[in-house]
């Protein structure tokens, strides 16, 4: 051993280093939020109940709107349609009979962007009585030709989703909604499975089949009926919206919250709905918004 250093010195040095290293706070992504001790005491004592009751009494049901309006528009992919990637489905011979393509960006011949979801993000929105008839309807998400049909499904939380299997082999349909019960049934050929969502989601959630791992669809359960998915030509229409200014959310699989216009932060925008027809026109979506 080097005579200049004895064991106690080394121990001291190491301890010092360790202590200094320990002082450096771990690299926190976000500062830990601190609880408010006063409020903690109040909550534990059960305070604030009276105030809450008053507020509940005040919350009046949403007033009848001045009229009902429709909103339509069309999303167009700026730049040439990207080549569609064919998926190797040889894992299951049942799936090779029909070609399957990656569906994260689907652009029609006329540039229309398919499967863009547009939905009302505002809360406490009056619902047109026309929608009552379909409030407890059943919507179908089919496993067909080893893909989900439709690729993106919007529905209401009051409705039932029925997962079908039109293929000759079994599929599973795994859904893990946030703050809600997960679901993962094995669905044999010709069988079906019902499911209810207890909570609405703020963005479409994936439905996957793990037996055929390329299979990925999306479902968006919402408390109100105001949601639409663009069709083959990129157009959509939401009917019978209450008149007034509301906030809308736009989502697309590859871009997530779609800021198609610079002022649409995180894909959100406010719009005044007037009675009658409202038209967003053609919305050009720059290719740079999509993840490759």
């Amino acid at each position: 051993m080097n005579p200049k250093w004895q064991v106690p010195d080394l121990v001291a040095a190491m301890l010092l280093l360790a202590t200094l290293a320990g002082c450096g706070r771990s690299v926190a992504m976000v500062a830990e939020p601190e609880p408010n001790p006063q409020l903690v005491d109040e909550i534990r004592k059960g305070g604030g109940e009276a105030a809450e009751e008053e507020q509940t009494a005040e919350a009046a049901p949403s007033a009848e709107p001045a009229g009902w309006g429709n909103l339509k528009g069309r999303f167009v992919y700026e730049g040439g349609a990207p080549a569609r990637e064919a998926i190797d489905t040889s894992k299951d011979p049942v799936c090779t009979q029909h070609p399957v393509f990656n569906e994260s960006i689907v652009v029609g011949d006329d540039g229309g962007l398919k499967d863009v979801v547009i939905y009302l993000a505002s809360k406490k929105v009056p619902v047109n009585p026309e929608y009552e008839a379909t409030a407890d309807a059943t919507v179908v998400l089919d496993n067909k030709h080893c893909r989900f049909e439709p690729h993106v499904l919007v529905m209401r939380t009051s409705q039932t989703i029925e997962l079908h299997n039109s293929d000759p082999a079994s599929h599973n349909s795994a859904i893990s909604p946030l703050g809600d019960a997960p679901f993962n049934p094995l669905i044999a050929s010709g069988q079906k499975a019902d499911h209810h969502f207890n909570k609405q989601q703020n963005a479409p959630i994936p439905v996957t089949c793990n037996i055929h791992p390329w299979m990925r669809g999306y479902v968006l359960p919402r408390d109100n009926p105001y949601a639409a998915v663009t069709g083959d030509d990129g157009s959509f229409e939401i009917k019978d919206l209450p008149a007034g200014t509301w906030e809308f959310q736009v989502w697309q699989e590859a871009a997530r919250f779609l800021a198609a216009k610079p002022e649409w932060k995180k894909g959100k925008f406010k719009l005044e709905i007037k009675p009658g027809d409202n038209d967003l026109g053609v919305i050009q979506v720059p290719a740079s918004l999509f993840k490759k």
Binding site: K4, P8, D9, A12, A13, L15, L16, T19, L20, G22, C23, M29, V30, A31, E32, P33, E34, P35, N36, E42, I43, R44, G46, G48, A51, E52, S90, K91, D92, V94, K123, P168, A169, S170, H171, N172, A174, S176, L178, G179, P182, N184, P185, L186, I187, A188, S189, Q191, A193, D194, H195, Q200, N202, N210, I211, H212, P213, R256, F257, K265
Partner: protein, 440 residues
Amino acid sequence: MSNMDSRFLTAATFLRRRAAWGLWAALGLAISSGCSTSVEPPQFRTNIQDILDAMDSHSPDEFRVTGREADEDDKATKEANIKKLELLSTLTYAAFGSPDEPYVFPEAQWNAEEKKGLDLKKITMAAGPTQGFAKPKREGLKKKQLGLFRQHCAHCHGVTGDGAGPTAAFLNPQPRDYRRGIFKFKSTEFVAKPTAADLKRTLVDGIPGTAMPSFALLPGDEIEALVEYVKYLSIRGETERNMAFDLLIQDEEIEPTRSAVLETYLQPIIDSWAEAEEAVIRPSERPETSTPEELAASIEEGRKLFFNKDAQCTKCHGPTGLGDGNDGSPADKRLFDVWNEKKQAGDMARWLLPKQELRPRNLRLGIYRGGRRPLDIYRRIHAGISGTPMPGAGPAPGKKETFTPEQIWRLVDYVRSLPYESASEPAEGETHVAAHTPSN
């Protein structure tokens, strides 16, 4: 010369001693000044990661006080987000306390008549700082805290029960993150919580094939205290997660009152744990297989079902049961459990733990994480495995059975025979995975 040498050495020794004193002094200074924070009691970590994942947000700047801001709107959103996080922290703290001072609302405490709630006595016993290597003193301890969770569990599962303790990064599979309220190995239906007996069994037996050891040597009351503490951390985590979802993702308001937290968030989760007993899968009787002929026939029938297009077992477990059924898939089509699916590969800083692929079980090893009894394997096939791609083949709410109980028992017999079967040629129509070439 020798004089010079000795004088030189003396000086060196003197200097060395001075240096040593300096080091000791510096050490003392460091301990007394800079590190006062290290003696603060540990706190539960707020579940910011799941919030960011749910927001589809790629930037934690949305919560960071010193983060970048594009403009005034961004600044306002961020300030609102930070306020919401503080409220979330306050609500969660009010309902559950801290690792040293656990708390449960009186309404949520154990009710022996209704058989539901959290037993604060047991939780307190498992809570607190570890008592070190000495046998925990049971008498005269403040609040009867034995520090059991931090002694036995926290190094893998983390103080918060987020599965991100210091050891976690080195383990495959990663330790369970309790905060989703999802547990894989249990006797209950897919969506149901585990029973207390299920958690106890995991603690006593460990989980074969993983780093989870057996704690069979702990006294019975300590095991029970730990089971209750795991339940407490899970309920705490799920309550926090659901409140975070409503506050930050759905932009809902939560009144800072006991009744708001209890009625909307805590009570439904407490109820779901109490309902686990009723969700235990109790299959109809196993078909008689007492003679070798009967067993062979049952295995043969199970084998046919295993390769059946309704079962699809081979797509993940492989045509010969080696767990290699999905190996040829490209990197983005691999299998992940719900704890890993949102992570991005290689991004350690954001997710605390690396993204870990899920390997379907190799059925030829004879190692079964959820237990090796026929009943355990029956329950895996019937309900599937919560939090994973393994689907349930039995009946579920809203769904008719894919296989009858008898068929599931046949599958159980075949699966149990696999470790003793020679690695056969795949059944007709099945291609072996070697035919695929990984395309990453």
